[in-house]
């Protein structure tokens, strides 16, 4: 800033501190003097504009107008808007401008940062969506490697190359834990014995648990709707327990890393009328992570 402008600002600040409002139409291009309206409130009244001006001037002294010209200009414009609104007694507008001023000041006072968001395909090849909601509006990402770059100067969207994603994010991506896996084991009628064919699934589950570091297992037992709930609830519990015990025995998984729940016939995989034998509902579901 020029020396003259700086002096003008300092003068405005002094006037403000002395409780005088600077006349409109000053040659000074700096922020308006704090308002001396009657409706002073601690948070957003004229008293607050005084400390806000001090804050803005301190930022200018620290070189904000060369380092962060856009944000500095924005802060000053919002400050002026705030003061003018107060003078007019437009409280709603004043509050709006005060908030915008605070945001601009935050941008000036914090380090300059660039935020980069890149959407990727998940392990199944599926691409979801993400939306960045910032000062400049909302930006939706919905294609593989769609990228949004945002900093104080604005927001731009692009498509990142696979190489660039690797270069920037290899360490973070490598550190992602293994995704959870889900297994369903079917049981014989009115029994805690696995159905024929469930053995292969159980073996895959065992291998998975063994391969993970610090695995956890969540086990839920179910029955079909045949028979009374007074039988089915304990049966679903026993099915879940039997799988928990076998997992502990065959993988060394600690009991503390297992959580069990049981539902009797209340949560069927396939809805059926009551008193229906349905093999697909006689099951234990396991989530391993």
């Amino acid at each position: 800033m020029t020396r003259a402008a700086g002096a003008g600002l300092a003068l405005a600040a002094l006037l403000a501190l002395a409780g005088c409002a600077a006349a409109d139409g000053d040659a000074d291009p700096g922020p308006a003097a704090p308002a001396a309206a009657a409706t002073d409130r601690a948070e957003d009244g004229p008293a607050a504009t005084v400390s806000a001006l001090a804050r803005l001037l301190a930022a200018y002294e620290a070189g904000a107008r060369t380092r962060r010209p856009a944000a500095a200009a924005r802060a000053q414009a919002r400050y002026d808007c705030w003061v003018v609104a107060l003078r007019r007694g437009d409280d709603a507008r004043a509050a709006e401008c005060r908030t915008a001023f605070a945001e601009a000041m935050q941008a000036i006072e914090t380090q300059r940062l660039r935020t980069r968001v890149v959407l990727l395909a998940d392990p199944d090849g599926k691409v979801g969506t993400a939306e960045l909601r910032g000062r400049g509006g909302a930006y939706t990402l919905d294609r593989e490697r769609a990228e949004v770059l945002a900093d104080d100067d604005g927001v731009r969207t692009d498509t990142a190359s696979a190489d660039a994603v690797q270069r920037r994010f290899a360490r973070a991506l490598d550190a992602l834990p293994q995704p959870p896996e889900r297994y369903t084991l079917l049981f014989q009628l009115d029994s805690t014995r696995l159905a024929p064919g469930a053995r292969a699934t159980f073996d895959a589950l065992v291998r998975d648990v063994r391969d993970r570091s610090f695995p956890e297992a969540f086990i839920a037992g179910h029955t079909d709707t045949l028979g009374p709930e007074t039988i089915n609830e304990p049966l679903s519990r026993d099915r879940a327990e039997s799988i928990a015990e076998r997992l502990v025995r065959e993988t060394g998984l600690e009991r503390a890393a297992i959580r069990i729940a049981y539902f009797g016939e209340r949560a069927p995989a396939f809805a059926t009328p009551d008193e229906t034998s349905e093999a697909r509902n006689r099951r234990v579901e396991i989530s391993v992570r």
Binding site: L120, L173, A271
Partner: protein, 146 residues
């Protein structure tokens, strides 16, 4: 849908009071990696619980990954600071939310149940604004520029 809820609901019933603040577990950790809790740095190790309010912090050679209770995967690359501000997962009532904040570094994210069942329940705060995630896989960097 119904059956997924059933599995999901099963475990929400079992959360012991002592575990109420536990929102996940550290699964991977290399180099300088810590969990900041109550102002103190605790060296991150696989198997360690992650609590609501924890900050994942890594140094120049560090990286770490956590699995949250809904199956969400989160990771931090080097020189990263990522806080787990809020995490609510209480199916089947529908009260889910997950709020994290990255202030520097790089993170990886892969959706769990919360993002699947509640649109807009997952938010990542960044210096440039809030990222609302509807799934499923995403990376974010916060870089310092001159």
């Amino acid at each position: 849908m119904g059956r997924i809820w059933a599995l999901v609901a099963a475990f929400s019933l079992l959360g012991a009071p002592a575990l109420a603040d536990t929102v996940g577990m550290v699964k991977t950790a290399t180099g300088a990696a810590a969990v900041v809790r109550g102002g103190a740095d605790i060296a991150a190790e696989p198997g360690m619980a992650v609590e609501r309010g924890d900050v994942l912090k890594t140094g120049a050679d560090g990286a770490m990954g956590v699995t949250l209770n809904d199956g969400t995967l989160l990771s931090a690359g080097p020189n990263t600071r990522l806080s787990v501000d809020a995490f609510a997962y209480a199916p089947p009532d529908g009260e889910h939310s997950m709020v994290t904040t990255i202030t520097r570094g790089t993170i990886g994210y892969l959706s769990g149940q919360i993002a699947q069942f509640s649109a807009d329940a997952v938010q990542v705060n960044t210096p440039a604004g809030t990222v609302a995630v509807r799934g499923t896989h995403m990376v974010i960097a916060v870089e310092t520029v001159r």
